[in-house]
């Protein structure tokens, strides 16, 4: 099981190597080898763990030396953050880093030996996270090699600092592995801070004023979460003399007050990381970064760290005040973010809002704390990781090829850039249509919400899935619409081979996940839930699976023969109906002055109805009030 340590250390070791190699070509090859090793190692870890009976494994009970290293690293991180904050005159943000770090350091140096189970804990959930980080994350890095090349080709204004970029990507991967594999809360806190700082640096990569601003917003929000996390950990450690994550949940389930308080604070921290309202704005700001870092932040890492923590806390949150608040925040975010997504025409912004929205649903699933909802949440997470990564990469590649990532400019993408258009279509379909897994998860979440008599969540899901369908469908419509222009294939597709490779693997994984869903449910997610809740009743009736397979057959089997049939049938193609005034073609007409006009079609965005900026402020106020109430309850609990 040494692989687990290897998974954490190897990317961290790769990072400086990346920085040292100045030759682009050489670095590209080293990158391929490195991510190949990372992906293989995560699969190997899974295999080894499965061969040992797929039972939870605890490793490294005594790690005195490693603890010291981590402490030093944590202090260094604090110094780095403080330096950057002072450099950019954002003095107060440094407090958010200094205070928790010093408190944690004091705790560690005080000589108290709080109880730990172990330091590395491998169970189903951490294996799942490892696979997501290892495979999706690695593919994103592969994609980044090609993308960054194209990015610096058309963004001459940004300083080419790719070695630094790759270094950050690898540090990020290492920190994520560390985060999901750690059992000691102190370690978790450290890796948490590393991911926060990494994302801060990635967002500020271009060094433009907007990027710097957004990166600091991301930093303070995540550090605020870090403060809550540290507070929760320290309070728990002081009162129960224990820093084990699993013990924390066990105590909380037994109703120990300090543990429940810690759970609340950690859940608060997870909400910041998962970009839930009122903290959603940092993820929106993260859009200024180059696409691979957005893909990494949105799909495989960062936000999934928040969700991961919430899933871990799920058994402790069921039917508690904290759980209810988390459900409300998640459901509300799901609905509001999907409404805001309707008004966006920038592809990446739509993806960003949809990430926030989907994370909201996962958060709500975790907050309900029932095994059915966690089942749904886990599948949401899997499908979301793959399809969102696919979509981000696809939009990025499209932007490099066509010079625009606006959805309006993607009109007829399927005919101009067939591969990118097709993958984008699959990626979007996977987000909400039958037979893809997101839909089944939504079905299961809705059922569980009804079972728990949670009327609020039922409302959020029913209205939210309506708005979600709206913005995705109109995007899909744009892709398949016949082009305004000649509709011919673009002569030059500048998409790099490595980008294509990553996209193809994603698309294949997407479909494989769909096909394998029943198997995954039976052999992986069910045991995961048994581990988590100690009991399990089958969530997914066999009937549903049969249905999904049938729909799959219909969706796959009908269009292709129908298309061949339609092609071969002696069809007379007619012009579109434009009251008879089109000029022998479909993309132009003669106006009442006898002049030729070009036809241009756009989607509805309701931009007068939905103003995301304004709406966001109200939503933030409301959710902040709810959170404030939750936190004051906790403080009240401490005082009593």
């Amino acid at each position: 099981m040494g692989i687990s340590v290897f998974l954490i250390l190897f990317p961290l070791c790769c990072a400086p190597v990346m920085y040292l190699i100045t030759n682009d070509r050489l670095r590209a090859y080293v990158t391929y080898v490195a991510v190949g090793i990372i992906a293989a190692a995560s699969v190997a870890l899974t295999a080894q763990w499965a061969m040992n009976g797929a039972v939870p494994v605890m490793l490294y009970e005594e790690t005195e030396a490693a603890d010291h290293v981590i402490l030093v690293a944590e202090l260094l991180l604090m110094v780095l953050v403080t330096y950057l904050c002072f450099k950019h005159k954002k003095y107060w943000i440094s407090i958010l880093s200094i205070v928790p770090t010093l408190l944690i350091a004091r705790q560690e140096l005080s000589g108290a030996k709080p109880m730990t189970l172990c330091h590395i804990y491998i169970d189903h959930l951490s294996i799942l996270m490892c696979l997501i980080v290892g495979i999706v994350g690695s593919l994103i890095v592969v994609y980044a090699v090609g993308y960054m090349y194209g990015y610096h080709m058309h963004r001459k204004d940004v300083r080419d600092n790719r070695r630094y970029f790759y270094m950050l990507l690898f540090v990020f991967l290492g920190a994520m592995f560390g985060f999901v594999l750690s059992e000691s809360l102190l370690w978790i806190d450290f890796f948490w801070e590393v991911t926060s700082v990494c994302s801060f640096l990635l967002i500020g990569y271009t060094k433009e004023p907007e990027a710097i601003n957004n990166s600091f917003r991301a930093l303070w929000m995540n550090l605020l979460g870090g403060v809550a996390l540290a507070a929760g950990i320290l309070y728990f450690a002081r009162s129960m003399n224990c820093v084990s994550f699993h013990k924390l949940i066990e105590f909380a389930q037994m109703g120990e007050v300090p543990a429940t308080i810690a759970v609340t604070l950690i859940a608060f921290a997870a909400l910041t990381k998962a970009a839930q309202l009122p903290f959603s704005t940092w993820l929106m700001g993260a859009m200024v970064a180059p696409t691979p870092s957005s893909a990494l932040l949105h799909s495989a890492t960062m936000v999934k760290a928040g969700i991961y923590v919430l899933f871990r806390l799920a058994p402790a949150m069921g039917e508690t005040a904290t759980g209810n608040v988390v459900v409300f925040i998640g459901g509300f975010t799901f609905f509001m973010a999907s409404i805001m997504a309707i008004s966006q025409s920038d592809g990446k912004k739509v993806l960003a809002f949809s990430t926030i929205s989907n994370l909201g649903l996962m958060t709500a699933c975790a907050g309900v704390g029932a095994h059915e909802t966690v089942w749904a949440g886990i599948f949401l997470m899997m499908f979301h990781a793959v399809s969102k990564s696919l979509l981000f990469q696809d939009v990025g590649a499209t932007e490099n090829a066509t010079g625009s990532r606006d959805i309006e400019d993607m009109h007829g993408l399927l005919y101009r850039l067939p591969m990118l258009g097709f993958y984008m279509f699959i990626g979007i379909a996977a987000m909400f249509l039958a037979p893809f897994g997101m839909l089944i998860s939504k079905w299961s979440a809705l059922k569980a919400a009804v079972d728990r008599n949670n009327i609020l969540l039922v409302m959020f899901i029913t209205y939210g899935s309506a708005t979600t369908g709206f913005y995705w469908t109109k995007w899909m419509g744009k892709i398949i619409s016949r082009s305004h222009e000649t509709g011919e294939r673009m002569k030059k597709d500048v998409t790099q081979k490595n980008e294509k490779f990553s996209l193809t693997v994603h698309a294949v994984m997407m479909i494989a996940l769909c096909v394998l869903m029943p198997w995954l449910s039976g052999h992986f997610v069910d045991p995961l839930l048994v581990e988590m809740f100690g009991k399990f009743t089958n969530v997914l009736p066999g009937m549903i699976l049969v249905m999904m397979v049938l729909i799959m057959c219909i969706v796959l089997a009908i269009p292709i023969p129908a298309y061949i049939y339609a092609k071969n049938q002696k069809t007379n193609y007619k012009l579109n109906y434009m009251s008879g005034i089109n000029t022998g073609k479909n993309n132009g007409f003669v106006d009442s002055f006898g002049e030729e006009k070009k036809l241009w079609l756009t989607n509805y965005y309701f931009d007068r109805l939905i103003q995301p900026d304004k709406m966001m402020v109200y939503c933030q106020l409301l959710t902040a009030a709810v959170l404030a109430v939750m936190v004051s309850f906790v403080l009240g609990g401490v005082l009593v």
Binding site: K570, N572, Y573, K574, L575, Y577, S579, G580, I581, N582, V590, G594
Partner: protein, 162 residues
């Protein structure tokens, strides 16, 4: 072959009429005349129409429009010119911008005279058009029709450069 005459859908196009005939065409749909009894629907869409009903003469501006609407209608199709203007150009015939009746642009099958044409006359014209529609759809006609369709398709393919 199937009986198609029970479902004749009409596309009504107003060329440059004084709107007198158009009012009478619409009158055919009112409770007094109720053309829907025969399954007639006044559709606004050439792709779904069987009978092309033109009122008013053809002018230089709408010639291309009428040609295109006619082209967009799937075969078999019938053209009915309603009113004196659509039949011959009527009192506008000598105007600088009028080309003449509908038959200057598309092959007209049925002529319904009158200024304005009375609803009874229009319905009578439509009934005749329906019979013709059925005849064109029947087997004897069909061979010729297939032939024409083939030609049309080839011409279209040539244009689109396939």
């Amino acid at each position: 072959m199937g009986k198609v005459k029970k479902s004749p859908w009409v596309l009504h196009y107003d060329g440059s009429s004084c709107n007198g005939c158009d009012i009478e065409v619409l009158a055919c749909l009112t409770p007094v005349y109720d053309a829907e009894r025969f399954g007639i629907i006044n559709t606004g869409d050439p792709l779904q129409a069987d009978i092309f009903l033109i009122t008013g003469g053809i002018n230089t501006q709408n010639k291309a429009v009428v040609e295109q609407l006619y082209d967009q209608m799937p075969r078999p199709k019938v053209v009915v010119a309603v009113g004196t203007c659509a039949c011959t150009g009527g009192i506008f015939k000598e105007c600088y911008n009028i080309l003449g009746g509908a038959d200057t642009t598309v092959p007209v099958d049925i002529y319904v005279p009158g200024c304005a044409a009375r609803p009874q006359a229009i319905i009578d014209g439509l009934i005749q058009a329906i019979e013709l529609f059925q005849k064109r759809s029947d087997k004897h006609d069909k061979i010729e029709r297939r032939h024409k369709e083939e030609e049309e398709r080839k011409a279209h393919d040539k244009v689109s450069g396939k």
